[in-house]
Each structure stands twice: as structure tokens, then as C-alpha cells.
């Protein structure tokens, strides 16, 4: 990274871009413009982004080729949209809790603030903001509002540590939860949530650059509300359903937010956050005003949590207290962050992806594909594959294969996730990405290309110059 190199050799006498002799063993992009260096540094990130971008096409291709197997195995696009916005929320949770070590059990409050705010703006319930305010504006304002709330909560909460911090944030979040689920200004029945007024907003919310029509697409979970797309590219017709369009648009926002948070983590500010986690007294002794850094991290994290919530509500077009503000929503983010790797940022999203993959695998649904009913989930899939003969085979007593399968797989995702989570806490405390990092000896983005590079060159340690 450019900043790292600058800090590493301040005495070389060469300009920021002219660091020809590098400590890391040959900087391949010395003298290149910053954006090329940024791209080169982020080639693993770029690969992941490309994989995510290709997923809808791979999904539709694979499910067409092998409907039953692939529908069962792969999470559908609507689920993947959820992975994106909730993944953003989980990453924002990891941003504050994984990096500063302060467990924010009330993080759901910020997610809920984002979700409620965009819908209230759309329903003309927020003073000063017109219901026609572009979604992107209300999304950013929601984030700023959440950051402001975070500063208020943080001002009193950061005097506490450990369990007490977790509990006071939980207390604040529950106060907001109770308020929002009983305040009848919000809607007719606040306890069961609020929905977008469809007569005011018959179409989906637009994500993109506000006021530039060509750079906007609508997000919605249903085709009749959202936008579908059909273009011809090199002789192939590419048709995208509304959830697929939403997947890309929400993915853009989530990707942008990820890189913003990642940038903060790798900045000097982020280093102080880590220092606070490792040893707050020492960080203070060095001269950092840790309180300010904690407040900053909390506000940034709240901002992105609210953006995640806003995307969630914008996509679903409704929100209720239990799926946004309740403390167990933050619990889900915690599970995702731990499984993915606490303090790895991207790990939280992968952790949640892993969850949803498990949940989808263990679902018990049938979906219609091409006019045919196709099993979506392991139980219907196994029933389909094994056939009646095997299913009614008696194992012992009056226990048949069917009963065993029912007991094992019928809607048991939570059980397996719980067991898996306990096992992770006991045996893989660093999570998926964290363990990978330990194994590689550095962040995946940095070390993986080196590893692959050295393998390709037959054990040579340093990465050679790029091919161009």
C-alpha cells in the first residue's frame, strides 16, 4: 500500500512514487500512478468482486443445467441480496467490535434507524424531507443520523468497558426498540412494523447517482415493483429480473462501503483502533486520546450499519421492530462476524454468506422453475432422489429412513448453526478468514497473491515484476 511504503522509508530521499528500493523485496509498481497501484494491491478484492458479479449468471446457468441439485445447493438471488445488505451490517459490527474490542450488543439500533428512516421519509413522516427525496439522499442522511445517535450513546457508554459496555449499549438499543414498536405516529400498528406507502411510491427505490436517470436502477424484491433489464450484448440476450438488478445495485453500494471501511482500517486511525483492542492503557500512554478514537470508530460503524439497514428496508419495502431493532439482530451479526473471523472486516460478510448457505441448504421448500416444481433444500431433494422405496425402508422398530431424514433436516438450520458456532468458539476462535490469515501470515489480500506467485515460479519467495 502506498501509505505503508511512504512510512516505511521516509529517509530514502526519493519521492513518494519513486521508491525504487523497497523493503518488501521489489515493489513491482514503483513509479506507476496511484490508481494502478491501488488496483494491483487489491487484486484479490477485485477477484472477489468479479466472482460476486458473475454469481447471478452462474446461478441461472447451473440451475438450468441441473435444476434439482443446484437449486438445493446454491443460495438463490433473493438470499444473496440479503447476504449483501446484512453482510454490510455485520461488517459494520465487526468494524467497531472486532477492531476496538468493545462489544456493541445494541448495534441493531443503528440498522433499525437506517431501515426506519428511509421508509419514514418515503411515507412523508419526517419533517423537512419531502417524500420524493431520492433514496440515495435519505440513505446517506439515515447514516448521518445513526452516526449522531452513536455519538450520543458513545459519549456515556465509552466510559465503561467489557460486559458493562455491552450491557449499556444493549439497554439503549432496547429503549429505541420499545419506543419504535409502540409509537403510533409511525403507522397504524407500529408493533408489526411499517411499509412503504405504495400509492406514493408505486415503483422501487432508485439506487445510483441521484438526478441522473441513466445511472439509476430500482431495487425491489418483486418484478412488478422493481425494474427488470433486458439488453443484448455480443449477440446474447441478458435478461435480469428485479431481484437480480437489486443484487447488482445493492452490491455496488455494499462494495463501496466495504472499501471505505477497509481504507479506514488500514489508515493510521485504524491502527489506533487495533491498539485500543490490544491494550488500551498502552495506547493511552503513548499519547492517543482513545476516547476520541472510540467515538470516531463507533460513529463510522453506525453510519454503515444504517446504510445496511436502509438498503434492507429499501429492498424489502417494509420493516418491523423485530427484524431490525431487536437485540437478537445484532446477535446474528455477531454470529456472522465470529464464524467469518472477528476483526477481519470482510470475514463478517463471508460468515453471513456461510450461514445463509447452510440455511438454504437445510430449507424445506419447493420452487417453481420453468413451470416445474423443483426442490429447494436438502430434505425435499433427498426425498426426490431417494424415491419412495428407500424412504419407507424400515431401519429398526417403526423408524423409517423418512422419519430419520425428517428429524435431521426439517427446518433445523438454527440447530446446526448453533452447534457449528459453539465448535467455532471452542476450536476455531479466529474464524474462517482469521485462520486463513494466520496460515498465510498476513492479510489475504496481500499474502495470497504472493503465495500463488511463488508457487507458480517454483518456490521463489518474492513476487516478480508484473507482466506488462
Amino acid at each position: 500500500m502506498a501509505t505503508d511504503a511512504d512510512e516505511a522509508d521516509p529517509g530514502e530521499g526519493s519521492g513518494p512514487l519513486g521508491a525504487t528500493t523497497d523493503v518488501g523485496g521489489g515493489d513491482p509498481l514503483a513509479g506507476e500512478p496511484w490508481y494502478r497501484r491501488y488496483l494491483w494491491d487489491h487484486r484479490v478484492h477485485a477477484a472477489v468482486v468479479v466472482l460476486f458479479a458473475l454469481y447471478p449468471f452462474a446461478y441461472s446457468g447451473l440451475t438450468e443445467a441441473m435444476p434439482a441439485t443446484m437449486t438445493t445447493l446454491l443460495p438463490g438471488i433473493t438470499v444473496m441480496v440479503g447476504v449483501l445488505y446484512f453482510g454490510l451490517f455485520a461488517m459494520s459490527f465487526d468494524f467497531v467490535s472486532g477492531y476496538t474490542g468493545y462489544l456493541d450488543f445494541g448495534h441493531a439500533a443503528f440498522y433499525g434507524i437506517g431501515a426506519y428512516f428511509v421508509i419514514l421519509v418515503a411515507n412523508d413522516k419526517v419533517p423537512l424531507l419531502d417524500p420524493s427525496t431520492p433514496f440515495m439522499f435519505s440513505l446517506v442522511i439515515a447514516g448521518l443520523l445513526a452516526a449522531l445517535v452513536a455519538l450520543v450513546i458513545g459519549a456515556v457508554s465509552f466510559r465503561l468497558t467489557g460486559v458493562y459496555f455491552a450491557m449499556i449499549t444493549l439497554g439503549f438499543a432496547q429503549v429505541i426498540y420499545v419506543l419504535m414498536s409502540n409509537w403510533d405516529y409511525l403507522g397504524d400498528n407500529p408493533r408489526s412494523g411499517i411499509a412503504v406507502n405504495t400509492s406514493m411510491h408505486p415503483e422501487g427505490f432508485e439506487v445510483g447517482v441521484p438526478f441522473v436517470d441513466a445511472l439509476n436502477m430500482q431495487i425491489a424484491s418483486a418484478n412488478f415493483v422493481g425494474e427488470t433489464l433486458s439488453t443484448e450484448l455480443a449477440g446474447h440476450v441478458i435478461a435480469l429480473s428485479a431481484p437480480e438488478v437489486s443484487y447488482f445495485m445493492i452490491g455496488l453500494v455494499v462494495g463501496f462501503c466495504y472499501f471505505a471501511m477497509q481504507r479506514v482500517i488500514h489508515s493510521p486511525f485504524g491502527k489506533v483502533m487495533i491498539a485500543i483492542r490490544e491494550n488500551e492503557e498502552r495506547a493511552e500512554a503513548i499519547g492517543y486520546d482513545t476516547f476520541k478514537y472510540k467515538m470516531g470508530a463507533f460513529a463510522i460503524s453506525a453510519f454503515f450499519a444504517a446504510v445496511g439497514g436502509a438498503l434492507f428496508a429499501g429492498y424489502r419495502r417494509s420493516v418491523d421492530p423485530d427484524n431490525s431493532l431487536f437485540f437478537l439482530v445484532a446477535g446474528d451479526a455477531l454470529l456472522a462476524a465470529i464464524i467469518g473471523g472477528f476483526g477481519t472486516l470482510a470475514g463478517a460478510l463471508f460468515g453471513f454468506l456461510f450461514f445463509e448457505f447452510l440455511g438454504e441448504l437445510l430449507a424445506n421448500n419447493f420452487v417453481s422453475r420453468g413451470g416445474e416444481s423443483v426442490p429447494d433444500g436438502l430434505l425435499p431433494y433427498l426425498r426426490d432422489v431417494l424415491g419412495e422405496g428407500t424412504l419407507s425402508t424400515t431401519l429398526f422398530g417403526d423408524v423409517t429412513v423418512r422419519t430419520v431424514l425428517d428429524v435431521l433436516f426439517n427446518g433445523r438450520a438454527e440447530l446446526y448453526i448453533g452447534v457449528l458456532f459453539v465448535l467455532f468458539v471452542l476450536y476455531v476462535p479466529n474464524g474462517i478468514l482469521g485462520t486463513l490469515r494466520l496460515w498465510l501470515g498476513g492479510t489475504v489480500a496481500k499474502k495470497l497473491p504472493e503465495r500463488i506467485g511463488s508457487r507458480l515460479r517454483g518456490g521463489q519467495a518474492d513476487p516478480g515484476p508484473p507482466d506488462d
Binding site: 462489544l103 460486559v163 439497554g171 432496547q174 429503549v175 455477531l334 448453526i417 459453539v422 471452542l426
Partner: protein
């Protein structure tokens, strides 16, 4: 809501001060005060029951048991199943009560065993890790427990999300809904048998645990271990064993609370969501009292219970905000943590990083 109350609610908006005085005068009516006091005591008993196990475990071991709510829920179902097994319809009231106490002892024993097993197998490997991991582990356990209970309920065809009605029929006749009496000699206060039972039960448990902690040798070990684990160990006391016993006891007490709530459809009732419903007030009580202090927990349960009862009265008569009691309970938590971060009776070192 009656017309007069509705009008009072509107008057409040018109002239806040005058109506505040009006509400206060209404509240100071002896009938109202005694009613709120009795309701508050019953609530406090429930609060102390669900919180006491949590505080014992935290006091000695510094482990915040997130599975406490789920274990209360398991206690409720287990108690319900056992009481259905033990009580036959032809039994008299006092035989039923006796059967209930047998069931309570059985639930205590079974869940204490479960708790001890959990401590040995899962919690023990985590003592040398940051406290975060104990929270995480017990949080994961709630998922597993809730799902296992759901599986069992599915087998027996019981709805997991609605309150389990069957065990309610095993209550003695002086505890049911129809047992409510209006006491004319006490300003027309309304009391039902369940409330009286809860108050007595809570009192007995509080005194019992207090005697255990202060009058027995093992209680002495536990108090010593809470003060200074290393010193206690140096004096030749097996603190590891005390950890197992206390964690088991904490879980057992959660189960007893569940068994009590199983008979009370208003404040509890066996259902899977009971776990989360119970966990939050238990946290509030334990934190407000000061994590790990027994006296603090009892006092905090009284404060929270009385406040809850007062706010419920306020909602019933003057304020049209259904979430008021719940809201104020969490506000108590927040305010206590701001004003006195260690809780009312807490010691500074416990529970920090």
C-alpha cells in the same frame, strides 16, 4: 379504558402540571398504593428468581451466561412435563402443591446436573480466554437449546411459540384466574393466589440462598472465591470444583424460575420465546444491582419490580403508551450505568476487561 380515564389522558396534554398532580393524587390513594405494592412484590419475586442464578455465576466466575434465559425456558417445559406426570385431576389442592415442590426439586436437580456438565465440558476450556468468548459460547448454546426444545415439542405436537396451556390445569384451585379476590377490608385491593404464591416462593428462595451463602462452609468458599480466586486457591480450597458447583446451581436456579413461571400465564408461561423475554429483565436486574453481588440483585429486583408495577398502573390508568413499563425498565439500566457504572452494590474490578 373508561371514559374518565380517556379524558384524563387528554387533560394531561392540555395542562401537564395540573394532570401530573392529579395522577399523583390518584396514585397516593391507599387502595392504589397497596395494589401497586402487591403487584410489584409479585413481579420482584419473579425478577429475583430469574436473576439470582445469573448473579451467582457471574459473582464467582465472571461468566455472563447468555444461555440463562433458554435454561429458564427449559426449566419451564421440564417442570410442566413433570407436573403433568405427577398431578392427576382427582388430587386435592394441597397434594398438588406438594407435587409441585417435588417437581421443583427434580427440576433443580436435573438442571444442576446439566449445568455442571456444561461447565466441565464447554465453559472450562475458555477460562483463560477473553471474557468475550464465554459470552459467545453461551450465546451459541441458546441457539442449540432453543432448537432442541423445538424438536422435542414438535414430536409431542405442542406449539413452541404460544404459551403451553396444559400444565395450567394442574394448579390448585386457589391459584387460577378465578382465584382473584377483592379484599374489601384492604381498600378493595385485588389479589390472586398466584401472586401470593410467587411472593412467598421468592422470599423463601432469597432467604434460602442467603443462608446457604452465609451459614454453610461451601457458601463461605463461594464468597471467598468471588473476592479473590487465587488467594482462595492458595488456602487449599478446590476453586475448580466450586466453579462447577456454582455454575450447576446457577443453571438449576434458572430452571426453578422456569418451573415457577410455567404456572403463571400472565408473567411467564412455558414457550420458546420465554427465553429471550426472561433474559433481558434478568440482565437489567443483575447489572443494576451490580454484577455478582447477591444483595444488589435482591434490591435491584425490588426496584425493577416496583417500577414495573407503577408503570403498568400508569399505563392502565393515565398514559396511552403500551411500552411504558418495558421502556422504563431499560431506562433504569441505562441511567444506573451512567450514574453508577458498577451498579448499586457493585465492586469496581468485576466485569471489566
Amino acid at each position: 379504558m373508561t371514559g374518565a380515564n380517556y379524558a384524563a389522558g387528554h387533560a394531561m396534554q392540555a395542562a401537564p402540571l395540573a394532570s401530573a398532580v392529579e395522577i399523583l393524587l390518584d396514585f397516593l390513594d391507599p387502595g392504589t398504593i397497596i395494589q401497586v405494592l402487591i403487584n410489584g412484590l409479585a413481579k420482584s419475586s419473579v425478577f429475583v428468581m430469574i436473576a439470582v442464578g445469573l448473579t451467582l455465576v457471574f459473582g464467582l466466575m465472571g461468566v455472563l451466561n447468555f444461555a440463562h434465559g433458554s435454561l429458564t425456558m427449559i426449566g419451564a417445559y421440564l417442570g410442566g412435563a413433570l407436573v403433568l406426570f405427577a398431578v392427576s385431576p382427582s388430587m386435592g389442592d394441597f397434594t398438588r402443591l406438594g407435587a409441585f415442590f417435588v417437581v421443583v426439586v427434580a427440576v433443580l436437580a436435573l438442571l444442576t446436573a446439566l449445568g455442571a456438565a456444561l461447565e466441565i465440558s464447554l465453559i472450562r476450556p475458555l477460562y483463560d480466554r477473553p471474557p468475550l468468548y464465554q459470552i459467545l459460547l453461551t450465546f451459541g448454546l441458546t441457539l442449540v437449546f432453543d432448537e432442541i426444545v423445538r424438536i422435542v415439542l414438535e414430536i409431542y405436537d405442542i406449539q413452541p411459540t404460544t404459551k403451553w396451556q396444559a400444565p395450567l390445569n394442574t394448579r390448585p384451585s386457589f391459584m387460577g384466574q378465578e382465584s382473584q379476590r377483592t379484599l374489601d377490608w384492604l381498600f378493595g385491593v385485588r389479589v390472586d393466589g398466584m401472586q401470593v404464591f410467587e411472593i412467598v416462593f421468592g422470599f423463601v428462595v432469597v432467604v434460602g440462598i442467603w443462608l446457604f451463602l452465609t451459614r454453610t462452609r461451601y457458601g463461605l468458599y463461594i464468597r471467598a472465591g468471588s473476592e479473590d480466586t487465587e488467594m482462595t486457591e492458595a488456602l487449599g480450597i478446590d476453586v475448580g470444583q466450586a466453579f462447577t458447583v456454582v455454575f450447576g446451581l446457577g443453571v438449576g436456579l434458572a430452571g426453578v424460575a422456569g418451573a415457577l413461571l410455567m404456572w403463571d400465564p400472565i408473567r411467564g408461561g412455558a414457550s420458546v420465546p420465554l427465553g429471550a423475554d426472561v433474559l433481558l429483565p434478568a440482565f437489567v436486574v443483575v447489572i443494576v444491582g451490580g454484577l455478582g453481588t447477591y444483595r444488589g440483585t435482591v434490591v435491584a429486583a425490588l426496584i425493577v419490580g416496583m417500577t414495573d408495577a407503577t408503570m403498568t398502573w400508569l399505563f392502565d390508568n393515565h398514559v396511552e403508551f403500551a411500552g411504558l413499563p418495558e421502556l422504563v425498565v431499560f431506562l433504569i439500566l441505562v441511567i444506573v450505568l451512567i450514574v453508577k457504572p458498577q451498579g448499586l452494590f457493585g465492586v469496581k474490578e468485576v466485569g471489566g476487561h
